[in-house]
Amino acid sequence: MRGREDEWTGLMRSAMAGDDAAYHRLLRAVTPVLRAAARRGLARAGQPPDQAEDIVQEILLAVHLKRHTWDSEAPFAPWLFAIARNKLIDALRRRGRRIFVNIDDFAEALPGEAPQETASAGEVAAQLDTLPQRQRDVLQSIAVESASIKDTAARFSMSEGAVRVALHRGLSALTAKLRDH
């Protein structure tokens, strides 16, 4: 457990220093743990586990948009689990249940418990359709069609800078819509 968390901290430090591949690896590494905890939280609240993926995606978006609040001198796991716990409580509350979520749900979650397949979730996709055209185009291109920022820029006759801005604004808007809907 300790080794896994040290590895996360190292990856996050690299990510913050500009290593996109490290960031990608980190997000992939934490996702099964988040998924297992989300399923457990849903089960405890008497909710069907098929909503776990929506919660996982919400957590990932929050991690992404709030990563500047992580102190690079501190271990990454407690920060991650605090965000995850917060989002899980929010999600369960929105579904009408108040529940105490134990932080150990995350710390103890073993990645092996969770199915490794990547599941699709409805909420992010649904909110994607409500974004302004340009943000939606850019997100679709990068997320769904796996295009690079450069290819996306060429395709929509935008500068790469404008694609980056639309991408970030789109992710922020998506998060706000998920939170408030």
């Binding site: 996109d20 990608h24 992404h64 709030k66 990563r67 609040t69 917060n86 990547t118 996709a125 980056r164």
Partner: protein, 212 residues
């Protein structure tokens, strides 16, 4: 969108760098401060006997109290803008103004009183104090909440209450230079009431706007 696609998209946005919460809070307070100062200059102004008042330790003590509220409140609010942060170990910082006030009240008790205690406590400006501090707080409170929205507080109402303490502490610092009531008993009563009001507003608004 499946989760792998989302992860790839987030990684593509990794180059985006957000400023630290402290920078956002500082900027937002600097933008809001002129509005509060404008309210101060329009309706209150510095008391006419400022020069002689500065020789009165109880006048100076008012600034020590208000700043010992505002500055620790800024520090604690930034601490709590991290999701894993707890108030434990930091909350005592917020007791600094209370301690200072207790010392000042004790000091005043030991001196030969110029006025009876109840008169010092009620003072002449209680109504102005109760309206001016909240009024000057509001722009600063909006600024503090805007800045803290950039963070990820686990307890939005608590973070909002701290935004209230920050703004009330700063507004009270302005107000202290206007008010001719220097007794620590007056400060302990009316400044505290005004601060409590602003803190409650901050907690209420914070519970809505500081969720992330």
């Amino acid at each position: 969108m499946d989760t792998d696609q989302l992860i790839r998209t987030l990684a593509a946005d990794n180059a985006h760098r957000a400023p630290r919460v402290g920078a956002m809070l500082t900027m937002a307070l600097l933008v809001a401060a002129p509005l509060s100062i404008l309210i101060f200059a329009t309706f209150l102004g510095v008391r006419p006997d400022l020069m002689s008042a500065m020789h009165n330790p109880f006048f100076d003590m008012k600034f020590a109290v208000t700043l010992s509220l505002a500055i620790p409140a800024i520090i604690v609010s930034l601490h709590l803008s991290r999701p894993e942060a707890l108030l434990r170990g930091w909350g005592w910082l917020l007791l600094l103004p209370v301690g200072l006030l207790a010392v000042a009240i004790g000091g005043e008790m030991m001196m030969a009183p110029a006025m009876p205690m109840t008169m010092r406590m009620v003072g002449k400006n209680s109504r102005v104090c109760l309206s001016a501090i909240p009024a000057m707080s509001l722009p600063l409170l909006a600024g503090a909440l805007f800045g803290l929205r950039h963070g990820a507080p686990s307890r939005p109402a608590l973070a909002g209450a701290l935004a209230g303490l920050v703004s009330a502490g700063l507004a009270a610092t302005l107000y202290a230079s206007h008010c001719t009531d220097d007794s620590p008993l007056f400060v302990a009563t009316w400044y505290t009431l005004a601060t409590a009001l602003v803190t409650a507003i901050g907690a209420l608004v914070g519970s809505k706007v500081l969720r992330y």
